[in-house]
Every structure is written in C-alpha cells, then in structure tokens.
C-alpha cells in the first residue's frame, strides 16, 4: 500500500510538472542525436541475451532488481 502511494505520488508530480511551469527546451536538438541513435549506444540491444544473463546472476546471488529486465520466479537451487 505504501509503495503504491509512493509511485502514484511520483506519477502525479511528473504529470503536473509541465502544466505548472514552462518545460525546458531540449538542449540536444533532434538533428544532434545521430550518435545516440547508433545501435551501439543502446542500453539493451539484445533483450533476450541480457535477460538470460541477469537471470544467471540472480539465481546465484542474493541481490535482485534494478536491472531493467522483468523475470519470472524459479526454483533454481
């Protein structure tokens, strides 16, 4: 319940931000994003591969989460 309220508050704050003040102008224009659009700049170019590697580490380590991928549970002892 507490986490749902926290997320909902964050969402409402984000939603109200442009309405309450003028949004900053993009400091990187669309025509300057050629490098950023290069596939080598993707955080997750191969989702299937990255999800598998996250799973392989998560099964053997105590930490989990904040990797960007969503996984199901398993009885991986």
């Amino acid at each position: 319940m507490r986490h749902a309220l926290l997320l909902a508050t964050g969402a409402i704050l984000i939603a109200s931000l442009p309405a309450g003040c003028s949004a900053p102008q993009p400091w990187v224009k669309p025509y300057e994003r050629e490098h950023l659009a290069d596939p080598i700049m993707s955080f997750d170019p191969n989702p299937v591969s990255n999800t598998y590697l996250d799973h392989a580490f998560e099964v053997r380590e105590g930490a989990r989460g904040a990797t960007g991928s969503v996984g199901g549970g398993c009885g991986c002892n």
């Binding site: 986490h3 749902a4 926290l6 997320l7 909902a8 964050g10 969402a11 409402i12 984000i14 939603a15 442009p18 309405a19 949004a23 900053p24 102008q25 993009p26 400091w27 990187v28 669309p30 300057e32 994003r33 490098h35 950023l36 290069d38 080598i40 700049m41 955080f43 191969n46 989702p47 299937v48 591969s49 598998y52 590697l53 392989a56 580490f57 099964v59 053997r60 380590e61 105590g62 930490a63 989990r64 989460g65 904040a66 990797t67 960007g68 969503v70 996984g71 199901g72 549970g73 398993c74 009885g75 991986c76 002892n77």
Partner: protein
C-alpha cells in the same frame, strides 16, 4: 499500481520496439552444475500502435553441486518458461504488460507485469513506472526407491508471493552521453527457502551434523542502479554501471561493471565487459552453527553467504543482409562468453554429515557462461 498519466508540452510520439525474432542457445557450466537450453523470442507489430511478443525458454539442468552431493544424488531436471507481452503506444506514452509462466517438477511460478513509460522534454527524458506480481508454488521431490529407480513424488510444501515496484529514468545528457537510473523494491512473503537445503551445526563429538533450515517468511529488498553510456569519437561506446542492494535479511550488495563496444570492418561488432559483485551475509546465515537449534532462524544457503564474484566477458556480432526472403531486413549472428569466478568468505564444502570441519578450505568455483544466438529483423 501507479496512476496512468498523459503529459502536454513538447514531445514526439513514442516508438514501438522493432519487429524481430531471436533464437538463443545458453549454456552455464560450473560448480558441478550444467544448465543449457534455448530461448526463442518473436515480436511483431500488429497495428501502428500495438506490438506483441512471445518467448519460450528452457533450462535443462544437470546438477551435482556441493549442496546436492552433501545430502542426495546428482539429478537432472527441466524447467520450461513461456511468456507473452504487449506494448501499446498513445502519443508520448507506452503501456506494456505481460504474463510469464514457469514450470518445473517441484516449482511453479506465475508472474504478471505492467508498466507505463512517458517521454518528455523533446524526448530527452523517459520516465517509467512498473509493477510485477508473482505467485509461486514450492514443492519437494522425493524418490522413495532412490533416484536411479525413478518414481518421483512431489510434495507441495508452501506458496510464495512477490510484489515488485520499479521506477526508472532514461536521460540524454549530451549528444554523446546517456544516463539510466533504476529503482526497484521487492516484497516477498510465504515459503522463501529451499526444501532441499539444511543447516549445519557442530555436534558435541566435534562432527558436523545437519538440521532443518528455518528462514523468515517475509523479505523486502531495495535496489538502485545507475548506468552511463558514452559515444567515443572513433565510433565506439563505453559504459559503466553501479547497483546497490539492501534487504531486510541483512544482505548488502554492491555491483559494478563496465563495458566497451567496438564496430570493426563493415559487419562486425566486438564487445568486452567486466563485472564485480560482493555481498554481505544474511543475519541468520552461518556456515556452521555452534550447536543444534542455536537460533530461531538458521540458513546455510550459499546465496545468502558473504562472497564476491567477478566475471569477464567477450562477444562478437556479425551483421548480414539476406537477399532472400525479401521481408527480412537484416540479421545478426552473436557469440558471447563470460567467465565467472566466485569465492565464498564463509562457506565450506563439509560434504555429508558426520565429518570433521577441520582442514576444509573455503569454497569457490569457476563457471563458463556461453550464449550463441541469431537475431532477425523484419
């Protein structure tokens, strides 16, 4: 669940993921365990605003790990997982959802997830919120006549529920620099231990004996990560990442990694990465308890021990443009290999109960992680 939201202001439409299919073969080998199998993903836009994806994944497990050998015989098992997901875009907003089902003889897991992401400030910033809900059913396999004779019987020993909340921001900092920040909270309750593991204690006669593990039936963890990616002027990319994790079981973990991506010639891309992880032990963990029933909660799960691991990886990708069939835009062949070394600070391989703990070194092992996959865009 986070409220859905729509933003006014400067922005361009969100973009659906590319139509693609991936066929991957994965292989883990180390610590007496071999796990391999396929992972197949197919994604396709069905309208201008809706993309669907399906994934089928298999783990074929052959295990003779120290945990297995200390109480049972080597075994083989297969886990199959299927998932479906959808991405829907409306203006600057992307709504995603999906369902994952995992089945193995002694563990069933159902997971549902939803997320919303919004790009803003001229697509410089993307904010995402997500929620994941999991329902697990935990069982224990026994072989009344021995493993070799077959006749497996599964006893269902408990359920585990999971709730995860995710929040992330992706930010373009400069024309060459990207930033990603992720937060995740996960809450689990129910049967959260392995029915096959046992704790060890030092008996009055100086031998190591076993007793049942008892772990708490709730666990809450928080993780935060930061990732940077920088475009180098000779057409390459370097990235770095850091994650911190802490939970109510007392585990504090740090992960730090770095990677380098370099296109070479016309069709090849090489990449290298390194990752270092270390964690402290859970407060109720011990490799060898001082006597039987020494505390309310006791665990000897290696995953809850104090340890560190380091992995190095190399990968190569070859891109091709098939002349046939005409609806294929491009494809890649990929080979990745990671080598992992894990060293425990407080775990020894005592073997079967009844032995002496004297002279046994700390446990560690090396593992190789191989991935070979082909990706097709259409």
């Amino acid at each position: 669940m986070a409220a859905l939201f729509v933003l006014a202001g400067v922005g361009r439409a969100a973009v659906l993921p590319d139509d693609r299919a991936d066929l991957l073969w994965h292989d883990w080998s180390g610590g007496g365990v071999t796990v391999d199998g396929p992972s197949i993903l197919v994604r396709k836009k069905v309208t201008d605003s809706l993309s669907l994806a399906a994934n089928y994944y298999v783990d074929m497990i052959s295990s003779a790990s120290v945990d297995v050998l200390s109480s049972a015989s080597p075994y083989k098992e297969t886990r199959r997982q299927g998932s479906i997901s959808a991405d829907f875009i409306h203006g600057n907003t992307t709504y995603s959802g999906g369902y994952i089902e995992s089945n193995e003889p002694d563990y069933k897991a159902r997971t549902a997830f939803l997320s919303v992401s919004e790009s803003m400030f001229g697509d410089l910033t993307t904010v995402s919120f997500g929620f994941t809900r999991g329902w697990d059913k935990v069982g224990e396999d026994i072989y009344p006549h021995g493993y070799a004779a077959g006749g497996r019987m599964t006893t269902w020993v408990g359920d585990a529920d999971h709730r995860n909340w995710q929040a992330s921001i992706s930010q373009i900092l400069t024309r060459n620099l990207l930033l990603g920040i992720n937060f995740e909270t996960d809450e689990s309750d129910g049967y959260l231990q392995s029915p096959y593991r046992s704790a060890r204690y030092l008996a009055p006669d100086g031998t190591v004996q076993s007793e049942p593990q008892v772990t708490p039936n709730t666990r809450t963890g928080n993780a935060g990560s930061l990732q940077l990616k920088y475009y180098l002027p000779w057409h390459a990319a370097v990235d770095g990442n850091y994650r911190v994790y802490h939970d109510t079981w007392g585990i504090l973990a740090h992960t730090i990694g770095a990677g380098y991506t370099q296109p070479v010639l016309r069709s090849w891309t090489l990449n290298a990465n390194v990752r270092y992880y270390r964690q402290s032990a859970a407060v109720f963990y011990s490799d060898l308890f001082p006597f039987e029933d020494s505390q309310n909660f006791m665990s000897r799960d290696r995953e809850l021990a104090q340890f560190h691991d380091i992995s190095y990886g190399l990968g190569a990708t070859w891109q091709f443009h098939p002349a046939w069939p005409h609806w294929l835009e491009k494809g890649t062949l990929n080979l990745d290999y990671n080598r992992m070394h894990i060293a425990y600070s407080d775990f020894h391989d005592f073997g079967r109960p009844g032995g002496s703990p004297a002279g046994i070194p700390l446990y560690g092992y090396d593992a190789g992680i191989t991935q070979f996959f082909i990706s097709l865009w259409y």
